[in-house]
């Protein structure tokens, strides 16, 4: 089962990518490869320049190094997220520490690759992220927000409102919610979620999904231990119901 708007890869040709990398050699190589894939690449070599580019131009995706002069990648990602919760960010870094990875994803990077990386893998991930963004945009367009009892999820702003309280959702959280809500009252398997939202083969790391669902429940469920919205279906996956 694949999500609906799959119009072939050519759809993403001409997508605008902001490449932020201070190592000139690596930046030139990446630019060459991304351009050969048909993307339009703008290069920035430090944090300040990256934000200037981001403010003055429109982009579909950002490839972001972490160790940058002036303003590091984490800070850049934070600033970008303040203005645009939806734009996909791929973090690229030489740091391998788990805490960096977690920090990157918490700030709202969509994906994280450690240097040295494989060219093919990078290109696959970039394509996956663009595809995901496209799907999210088109499916949000039809239903920008959903009410859950007294709460509301706003997909365009990527926020969850519960009375006075407002929680910012990461792109992943919003996408998983969107995917489940679009298929409400139907069982969605972990494999399906992995393949369509994470864009990785479904036979690896199904636990990722479980941990993720736990986090989501903490946000949206009144009582995370007894979920009423996201229900676990034994040996099948998860199902979203409107809490009847």
């Amino acid at each position: 089962m694949r999500r609906a708007p799959r119009k072939g890869e050519t759809v993403f040709k001409g997508s605008k990518i902001l490449l932020v990398e201070d190592e000139e050699s690596l930046a030139v190589g990446l630019e060459y490869n991304l351009t050969r894939e048909g993307y339009r690449v703008t290069r920035a070599s430090d944090g300040k320049e990256a934000l200037e580019c981001f403010r003055s131009l429109e982009f579909d995706l950002i490839v972001l190094d972490i160790m940058l002069p002036y303003l590091n990648g984490f800070k850049v990602a934070e600033k970008i997220r303040e203005r645009s919760p939806q734009i996909p960010i791929l973090m690229l870094t030489a740091r391998t520490a788990a805490k960096d990875r977690v920090k990157g994803l918490e700030i709202g990077a969509d994906d994280y690759m450690v240097k040295p990386f494989h060219l093919r893998e990078l290109l696959v991930r970039v394509r996956g992220m663009l595809r995901r963004k496209e799907w999210y945009r088109s499916s949000v367009g039809s239903a920008p927000s959903v009410r859950l009892g007294r709460n509301e999820i706003h997909f365009e702003e990527m926020t969850f409102r519960s009375g006075e309280r407002m929680i910012r959702l990461t792109p992943h959280e919003a996408m998983v919610l969107k995917y489940l809500i679009d298929r409400r009252d139907k069982v969605v398997s972990r494999k399906e979620l992995l393949e369509n939202v994470w864009q990785i083969p479904g036979h690896v790391e199904t636990r990722t999904v479980d941990n993720f669902i736990l986090r989501l429940r903490k946000i949206i469920e009144p009582d995370p231990a007894n979920p009423i919205f996201i229900k676990s279906i034994r040996s099948a996956g998860y199902m979203f119901t409107t809490g009847k």
């Binding site: 190589g29 160790m67 002036y70 030489a94 520490a97 040295p116 990386f117």
Partner: protein, 344 residues
């Protein structure tokens, strides 16, 4: 060196232990000599108990001071070790970054060449970039390995008597060329007709590191003014740059091992925190001094190196350096001392 130091602290620890045990013994002795006077005599001899009191007071005080001094020394040492461990973690993170970046780039170009049809001209460019990256890797690996040699002090060096000016001039010019700086960006003024004892390769590391810093911490195009001067006893070399400068607080610390300045205004994040440490170690081994000053933020900084003039200052120390090198040359036979400290 480090082994020697930790032995010293083990000794301090043992002495402190002995001191407090003696203190305990002394007090027990005093207690018994007052409360249980020797059997036989009907009452304690006033002279004896008086003496025991004085001994217990004075001796006890001395021992107490010894214990507290010993403990403070140990505490200070432990503290400095903890700090070094922390800095070391930082260093590992920095080196990881420095090693992985060129590696990532080489891998990217190899995969590109392997998977795509790349036009001839681009191929040449990619190969050139890969060679640059591998040279960078080589430099970094060498410099990490060399630090062990540098820490062995004078043994690894190759000291010779040089006339200062031609030596320094050629080293500065080589450095400028290595960082691709045109001559007008690295100007040399002053003159230094005096003689000094130096290891050419080690001084090259010093000069390259200082130029490298000036380049890294300049916001625009780097602009370096090198000034030579022979004072009464010392040869003085000053490097004045127009970079971001160094705050007064950081000036004291930039020469520390693994220390890196964290300044969000600084344009560069590259580095291991070893460069200026080597500079200081090398100059120290030469019998000289290095210091830094800065007028403040964005006012640039001045690195000042002082080396003793041959046969004028620190005669005994400098002659010993020459002797060590001569002895090593004799030992290694006709092999010329090119196996010493390699340039960057």
């Amino acid at each position: 060196m480090r082994k020697h130091q930790s032995l010293q602290y083990i000794l301090i620890f043992i002495l402190a232990q002995i001191a407090w045990l003696s203190l305990l013994g002394l007090w027990i002795y005093r207690y018994f000599s007052i409360n249980y006077p020797e059997a036989g005599s009907a009452q304690p001899h006033p002279m004896i108990s008086e003496r025991a009191n004085v001994v217990a007071l004075v001796g006890g005080l001395i021992l107490l001071v010894a214990v507290s001094v010993g403990m403070s020394l140990l505490f200070a040492w432990l503290n400095s070790q903890l700090k070094i461990t922390q800095l070391y973690d930082n260093f590992i993170a920095n080196v990881t970054h420095e090693l992985k970046s060129p590696l990532a780039s080489i891998q990217l170009y190899l995969e590109t060449l392997n998977e795509r049809r790349v036009p001839r001209q681009k191929q040449e460019e990619f190969v050139r970039r890969m060679m640059m990256d591998s040279a960078r890797l080589n430099t970094l690996i060498n410099s990490i390995l060399e630090i062990a040699g540098l820490e062995q002090k004078s043994a690894a060096y190759c000291f010779e008597v040089h006339t200062a000016e031609p030596l320094l001039r050629s080293l500065v010019e080589e450095g400028a060329e290595q960082f691709k700086l045109p001559p007008e960006r690295v100007r040399i003024v002053g003159s230094a007709p005096c003689r000094c004892v130096a290891d050419r390769d080690a001084l090259r590391i010093v000069i390259n590191n200082i130029i490298d810093n000036a380049v890294k911490y300049s916001t625009g195009k780097p602009d370096i003014l090198v000034h030579f001067k022979c004072s009464y006893k010392n040869l003085v070399i000053e490097f004045r740059d127009r970079g971001v400068g160094i705050s007064a607080k950081e000036q004291k610390r930039v020469f520390e091992k693994f220390h890196r300045v964290h300044d969000s205004n600084a344009p560069s994040v590259k580095g291991t925190g070893l460069g200026l440490y080597w500079v200081r170690e090398i100059i120290k081994t030469h019998g000289g001094r290095v210091s830094v000053s800065s007028e403040g933020k964005n006012q640039g900084s001045v690195f000042r190196i002082e080396l003793p003039i041959y046969n004028t200052a620190k005669k005994r120390y400098v002659n010993r350096l020459l002797k060590v090198t001569q002895r090593r040359r004799r030992e290694t036979g006709s092999e010329e001392g090119g196996n010493g400290v390699q340039g960057q």
